[in-house]
Amino acid sequence: MGNKKLFLFFVVPAVAYLFILNLFPLLWALGLSFFRYNLLTERVPTFVGLGNYGTILLDPAVWTRMQITGKFILISIPLQFTLGILIAFLLYKELYGRRLLLTLFLIPMLIAPVASALFFRYLLDANFGLVNWLLSEFFNTKIYWLGLGKVPGLGVEYALLTVALVETWIWTPFITLLVTAGLSTIPQSVIEQANIDDISFIDRVRYIVFPYIKPILGLALILRVMDSFKTFDTIYVLTAGGPGISTEIITFYIYKLAFQGWDFGSASALSFGVLVIILYFTTIFLNYFIFRGGEEQ
């Protein structure tokens, strides 16, 4: 088999796979976004041009969901990174049972988000939940975790904070895992030199650890931001988007447009809007953490 044939033999199946499973549905959805189409009641789609895009841009409901999504990401991602990095640092030291601890820390990530959310829903139940029972027994207080009360000092509703905390519980191990992998790439000689030079902890983190883990943190950030935009199961089980719309992030709204209102045109248009936002953030993160990070190294 010649080089060209061999090339085709390996490449064509991959390209076909990519086209059938990724590109074709994407193009189909893009086409759909220019039509008004209710799959359940309208048999023939009506071409509306950019009408769906105009509608979603002018729809205050969309912007409200965008704000909720922003708040949700701004709470959950920093929490996940702070905890994930801290745990990775703790586990970086040679401790007895370090591997077992790392495995235990990974458990939340291995549980289906639906199961995790259900578990927390019962734990945080206002009337029969274990958390409130403990709070009531020891502190004579109760918190309505899925309610609209504002969290002191944060100004967000408890319901949104709870969803963000549950997401943090699920995804912190992912950050821990990646950062642990990043830390393991620091050469032993560099660490020994830092010990000899008696470099302070802050300087070690800033000049030794951070440059090594920066690309991996960038990758983690891209993945987590993308995933946070797509959060669905946790919200569906914990709050169904409520109370009111307080935890209804943009993906949940798209789901409602598509599968409750059967408005596939608007749902597709909004999905592409979200895709553009995600691509924008991805490009920024790639430039800052990975491409520029690579140049610096």
Binding site: A126, F128, T239, G244, G261
Partner: protein, 483 residues
């Protein structure tokens, strides 16, 4: 084979021929094998119907030449609409029949997903007769008829009889009315009764007849009176936990809060819309509607904490754990209140008519019509199932097992009224059952209403703002329908 052995073998063979019909040995007449798939919400009534269908319909179908395997396709209530509508949107033949919520009839019929049953009724006069002469009028109209704008329940039998309306199903699970439940031990406790009279100047209701006279405004008084803190006394005992006056389902999922809010809303004389002109403005935000919403918020004050998140699980847990004095629940779910294994108050619960307001009484219509999928490959057997399902004997057997029915003759029978603790209240409540929209835009209207009512209960917006917002959102949605 020796002659000695041949004789008993031959005798057995001849005996077998006499006992079993020859065609069985010859393998004919052939029964046509059919798998009949029925979509149902995952709940106890579905399981009871499945069991009965497997036991009796399979035998019934054999008379018509079918060897039927019954398969129930269950989905949880919260996602049942998505499951059913996805199957229909995909034009899939995986389902032959479905228990469809009454409000979905418009969407499913306009989309061509379910079969109009007018011809079936003409071909099966016994089913038509049972519908027209022996089925509650409101169930007939709300479960079966689309379009129904401008029609009144009392006109339904005549219109169906004359074939002047489109009929899309038969009553499937006629869990047709929300029922009021209360703790009879508390309402009849002498100390509580005396304390209540001293505070409010009138007696607590005690008998079924007393409750029939209760106005929702009084329910607020009862709720306020029975709401107590941990450490206070209730019916002579010191409370180990907070106790609440009333618990209702306020959750945002599917139609949960709407079902519990609407009996009050309608009893205040409000309407969701004008069905003929398809307008919501001035109806759902009328002064009566706002008063009803304000009253609902009065009740929320006496509900357990986290009221906006209380769903069916929450409501049932709170009530069965003895933490609330009153609640409202569907007949299909009431059994758990009387189950000693699940309920701490199994012997302390009683039912009543839904309260009225100034003489106007409503309850929300529940239950599902049974419809035939247009994409079914087993339509003949599906129609056979409808005929079997709505026969007198099966309806009676089901009613006694389920504790609810739409058949008048069964509703009025002593056997039914004595079959379950809630059946009397069910039979009285069903007359007041009313449905909401059943047009194709139903799911959008419902979603907007659920979102706003839930936000109202959470205290995010005032009752007046809530009703205005629902009107505004509904007008935007209905504008599409008016085009």
């Amino acid at each position: 084979m020796t002659r000695k052995k041949l004789v008993p073998v031959l005798t057995l063979f001849i005996a077998a021929l006499l006992i079993f019909p020859v065609p069985i040995f010859l393998g004919s007449p052939e029964l046509k094998k059919v798998t009949l798939t029925i979509a149902s919400p995952e709940w106890l009534p579905g399981k009871i119907i499945e069991e009965l269908s497997k036991e009796k319909f399979t035998e019934y179908a054999k008379q018509y030449g079918y060897d039927v395997e019954i398969v129930f396709d269950y989905s949880p209530w919260g996602t049942y609409y998505q499951r059913l509508s996805s199957v229909f949107a995909a034009r899939s033949s995986e389902i032959d029949l479905a228990f469809s919520d009454s409000q979905w009839i418009g969407e499913f019929s306009e989309g061509g997903h379910i079969i109009k049953l007018n011809d079936f009724l003409e071909a099966n006069p016994e089913v038509k007769k049972a519908l027209v002469e022996d089925t509650m009028e409101n169930v007939l109209l709300y479960y079966l008829v689309y379009p129904r704008a401008g029609l009144k329940p009392e006109d339904a039998p005549k219109l169906i009889e004359e074939g002047k309306v489109n009929v899309w199903g038969i009553p499937g699970t006629a869990d047709a009315a929300l029922i009021f439940h209360y703790r009879k031990d508390l309402f009849s406790h002498p100390e509580e009764r005396a304390a209540f009279k001293a505070k409010y100047g009138y007696e607590l209701p005690q008998t079924y007849e007393d409750w029939a006279k209760v106005d929702w405004v009084q329910v607020r008084d009862f709720a306020e009176f029975f709401t107590r803190k941990k450490g206070e006394k209730l019916a002579g005992e010191v409370l180990e936990d907070d106790f609440y006056g009333i618990v209702l389902n306020n959750a945002r999922d599917y139609d949960f809060i709407s079902c519990f809010f609407l009996p009050i809303f309608w009893s205040w004389g409000a309407e969701l819309w004008n069905e003929t002109t398809m307008t919501a403005e001035g109806y759902v935000n009328s002064p009566q509607a706002k008063e009803a919403a304000k009253f609902y918020m009065e009740l929320v004050k006496f509900m357990p904490p986290g009221a906006p998140s209380i769903d069916y699980d929450g409501l049932i847990t709170i009530f069965t754990q003895g933490r609330a004095a009153m609640t409202v629940l569907w007949a299909s779910m009431s059994a758990i209140f009387f189950d000693p294994k699940a309920s701490k108050v199994y012997d302390k619960v009683a039912e009543a008519l839904m309260p009225h307001h100034d003489g106007v009484r409503y309850t929300t219509l529940g239950g599902q019509p049974l419809v035939v999928s247009s994409y079914s490959r087993n339509k003949e057997v599906a129609f056979l199932y409808l005929k079997w399902y709505y026969s007198d004997t099966i309806q009676k057997e089901l009613a006694l097992k389920l504790g609810f029915t739409a058949r008048k003759s069964i509703l009025n029978s002593e056997e039914f009224l004595n079959s379950h603790p809630w059946t009397r209240a069910y039979a009285d409540n069903i007359k007041y059952a009313k449905d909401f929209w059943n047009i194709p835009l139903y799911s959008k209207l419902l979603e907007a209403q659920q979102e706003v009512l839930n936000a109202m209960v959470a205290g995010q917006i005032s009752p007046e703002e809530a009703m205005d917002l629902i009107a505004q959102r509904h007008e935007e949605i209905l504008r599409q329908a008016r085009k």
